[in-house]
Amino acid sequence: MDKNKENFVRLQFTSIPDNVALARVLISSLVAQGDITLTDLEEIKVAVSEAVSNSVIHGYQGQEDKLVTIEASISKGILKVLIEDQGVGIEDVEQAMSPAFSTDPERMGLGFVFMQSFMDDVQVISTLGKGTKVILEKNLIKENQACSHLAN
């Protein structure tokens, strides 16, 4: 299977915490269809896990009967993942994305930090009372494949 194979999947699930694992499992299986480094795989899993956890925890504030949507596409070696909820939305996206900021004292405010460290691009579109879309992008083709081995 070649890494450049175009692919598209859409996953929707009820907003229960256990389903965050389903998102990780699906995205792992999807990107593992190509030959990806273990480090990249791990980083993508963390980034997606953060975004989906945010939808469940913050977006829907623990309400378990809502829907989270994930769309993932691979095209020309670029992985694009959209994570979407119809939850409370974010008042100030810039503030939300800054390191250590969290509206929940029990949490570390590292979610967006991880998304930004592990993906090449993170976009957040949010409307108060309407919901939040997070779009993550990562190039799966390494310029210098030799380096990606050293990274493991």
Binding site: P17, A21, E42, S49, S53, E106, M108, S117
Partner: protein, 112 residues
């Protein structure tokens, strides 16, 4: 899955699987209850079976660290896999919670 055992005043907590929001909640609830019920001097996380961690897991770790520190106790981690190590390192948590390779090394750390 979260399983616990005591060795004297050491509480050893083993997490099996993905340390995400689900396990974070279980970990938080179990450990907080035990710290309430029994005198614990040293909280040790057995990470040998943790295959994944994200910021929900990290938050639960940091929270328990703060709690045990308030009580004058200590916390450490052992058996961390490389992929999990990277995340711990990135989060800065390694600056405050020490890592050991084995359970016995984590137990021996009597002086700090």
């Amino acid at each position: 899955m979260v399983s616990v055992k005591f060795k004297n005043d050491n509480l050893i907590v083993k997490i099996i699987g993905d340390f995400d929001l689900v396990i974070a909640k279980e970990f938080r609830e179990k450990v907080d209850k035990l710290l309430m019920d029994r005198p614990v001097n040293n909280l040790i996380l057995d990470a040998t079976e943790i295959s994944f961690i994200d910021s929900s897991g990290l938050g639960a770790l940091l929270g328990r660290y703060k709690l045990i520190q308030q009580k004058g106790g200590r916390m450490s981690i052992f058996g961390v896999k490389p992929s999990v190590f990277r995340i711990l390192e990135l989060s800065g948590i390694l600056k405050i919670i020490p890592i050991f390779t084995t359970e016995s090394l984590a137990l021996e750390r009597k002086e700090a």
